[in-house]
């Protein structure tokens, strides 16, 4: 395996200082960096502390107007090879800040990117939030959450098993990052996903002039050469 430089981006929605969410995210990131380095790669790790984006959140939610910090966060995620996304659980769900941040991103920003999902809570009764709620959000975004979800409630911080699970998740992330899955999907199959002009964080700027809509735009008719999507009779 040749040496690569990988970019890991950690998104933490913890709001206290120190924050157990940030702590869990940092541990997972640290392990993922160490594992990738052990495997002969170099890693650039960046953290997006969503608390710092809070002042720009209202305009992003109401007007899709991304402020400078949002813009930098989106650029970092767009370039990321792997992501660690961590949320505190409030009222039986990932925090509003966490969900809001991922909801305002373009649908195609994270396609195929491996993600460690992590959550913290004050009680073990929130344990399924990672797998039942956060995993669904990232499935919608066509991201690739690693099989092991991380969850830490108060008692987990004194249990060595949490460290084992972090190792597991970090290893899964490292292997997926190393596989180049996201890049290969982008290279080979990008056009099969739904995009809009300027999506994928402002990078999706290709315009296909040879489409049905473009033919209609230039005085043609939808009836000319219109084919059913699964018509295999020609070509």
């Amino acid at each position: 395996m040749t040496t690569q430089n990988y970019r890991l981006v950690t998104v933490s929605a913890g709001v206290s200082d120190p924050s157990s969410t940030r702590l869990l995210a940092d541990r997972a990131t640290q392990r993922a960096v160490a594992i990738l380095e052990d495997r002969g790669h170099t890693v650039t790790a960046t953290t997006i502390d969503l608390r710092e984006l809070l002042p720009e959140l209202p305009q992003a939610l109401s007007s899709q107007l991304m402020g400078p910090k949002f813009t930098r966060a989106i650029e970092a995620l767009q370039a990321a090879d792997g992501i660690i996304a961590a949320a505190p659980v409030y009222k039986a769900g990932a925090s509003g800040l966490f969900s809001s941040f991922f909801q305002v991103l373009d649908n195609d920003l994270l396609i195929g990117k491996p993600v460690i999902l992590a959550a913290t809570a004050g009680t073990a009764r929130h344990a399924l939030v990672v797998d039942e709620e956060m995993r669904a959000l990232f499935a919608y975004l066509r991201a690739l959450p690693v099989p092991t979800g991380l969850f830490a409630s108060t008692e987990d911080w004194t249990d060595k098993a949490l460290g084992t699970r972090i190792d597991r998740a970090a290893t899964e992330l490292a292997i997926l990052v190393e596989s180049g899955f996201a890049r290969k999907v982008r290279d080979d199959s990008w056009s099969r996903y739904q995009h809009t002009f300027g999506s994928a964080g402002g990078t999706e700027l290709g315009i296909d002039l040879d489409s049905d809509m473009m033919r209609l735009a230039t005085g043609g008719s939808l009836r000319d050469g219109r084919r059913e999507p699964f018509d295999l009779t020609e070509g």
Binding site: Q59, Q64, L65, F197, I207, M213, L216, G219, S221
Partner: protein, 394 residues
């Protein structure tokens, strides 16, 4: 270069006084605003089209024809006319009528609007919004250029030997702008037909609009209508002007904070920094507006949004005094001085008549006699070419 104002026709509670105008008051107010736009030396008045409260402008051509009768120079246009839910046949008829009544002082801007529920009210499907817009314009284009149209498409019944009346004034179709802020197909259609392209330039940073305007300019050239510089670009923008910056901010802030669409979201200062909004002294508004040319190239029409979000009539008329008295004269001078040679003039009916006919008299279609069936057939006008062979009767 043409300067003017565009209204969305919203009837919004004044957040300072708590007063909500009646529909009757707001319709009268908009008429006065349009007339005053001409009085202060502006060139263009545009009205939107909506089919639900709190808007009144369901019938733009009626309003614009009334304003045309009260003014002498002002160009009347729309921002926008819904090319999706209106039957293109009705658009062809109504706007040709407006063109006659205003003696050519009109054009129109086509858009898809921002109101999803409007589609079913007119029997259409929002999922087909884009193909509807594209196909409808393809038909509209022909209805204004061919006396007799045979047509078949996906979204309305076919036409056989149809003539849209009245024919355009001087047989020169109204100029069309295609408004879009995110759809390459609309920019491509504008470029294909050599029509104008308008970006509302309200909500987002300039980079967002630059991409499609650049694309439109390149495609305008590719389709053989002239150089990229000759492409015809219009921009929106919004301004609030006072003698000094602090007063402008103090006066506009309550309206900004509760404005439809972006109210209760961004801070006004952030919005000013990130979007084309300018709030300030005449000089500040001039400086900000001059940056549009730097970003988008020489352009032909600048429309400001000045009457929304519950601003009372008196304030809007004062805004027009400042816009027409102190801002636009300087902008005209500065933009004229900077303008690169070889750019297009802003579109007017007179220029389009000259372009088509030179020194010759424009065509004035005179109908043939009614054959008794209220259908004029293959050659509806005395000078129209036969589209169906007519054999001599015995």
């Amino acid at each position: 270069m043409q300067f003017g104002i565009m209204s969305v026709s919203d009837i919004t509670r004044d957040p300072v006084t708590g007063y909500t105008p009646s529909e009757a008051e707001r319709i009268d107010a908009v008429t006065r605003i349009a007339v005053h736009a001409e009085e202060v030396g502006l060139d263009v008045f545009a009205i939107g089209e909506h089919h639900n409260p709190p808007f009144f402008s369901s019938s733009p051509t009626t309003l614009l024809a009334h304003i045309a009768a009260l003014t002498e120079r002002l160009i009347l246009t729309t921002s926008t006319t819904l090319i999706t839910t209106n039957d293109p046949v009705r658009i062809a008829e109504e706007y040709a009528m407006l063109q006659h009544l205003s003696k050519g002082r009109m054009d129109l801007m086509l858009g898809r609007g921002n109101t999803a529920p409007v589609y079913p009210w007119f029997g259409q499907d929002i999922r087909q919004g884009l193909p509807l817009a594209l196909e409808n314009y393809n038909l509209l284009h022909r209805l204004w250029r061919e006396d007799v149209v045979d047509w078949e498409g996906n979204f309305r019944g076919p036409l056989q030997g149809f003539t849209s009346t009245p024919r355009p004034l001087d047989d020169v179709p109204p100029f069309v702008w295609h408004g879009s802020i995110r759809t390459p197909e609309i920019a491509e259609q504008a470029a294909y037909y050599g029509n104008g392209y308008f970006a509302n330039n309200i909500f987002w940073p300039k980079e967002h609009y630059q991409r499609l305007i650049d694309f439109y300019r390149r495609r305008f050239e590719a389709h053989g209508h002239g150089t990229q510089k000759e492409a015809i670009v219009g921009l929106g923008g919004q301004a609030f002007i006072a003698k000094n910056s602090q007063d402008a901010h103090d006066q506009f802030r309550p309206y900004f904070n509760e404005a439809p669409v972006y109210g209760n979201g961004p801070k006004m200062e952030d919005f000013e920094e990130m979007t084309p909004l300018s709030v300030g002294s005449p000089q500040e508004v001039i400086d900000k507006t001059l940056t549009f040319r730097d970003a988008f190239g020489d352009y032909q029409r600048q429309l400001f949004l000045v009457d929304h979000a519950g601003l009372p009539l008196k304030t809007v008329l004062e805004q027009l005094d400042l816009l027409g008295g102190e801002v636009v004269p300087v902008l005209r001078k500065e933009l004229d001085a900077k303008r690169e040679p070889g750019t297009a003039e802003a579109p007017t009916h007179a220029a389009r008549v000259t372009a088509k006919y030179g020194d010759e008299e424009p065509r004035q279609p005179r109908p043939n006699a009614n054959r008794g069936d209220n259908v004029t057939g293959g050659s509806p006008y005395q000078d129209s070419e036969q589209s169906v062979a007519a054999y001599p009767s015995m």
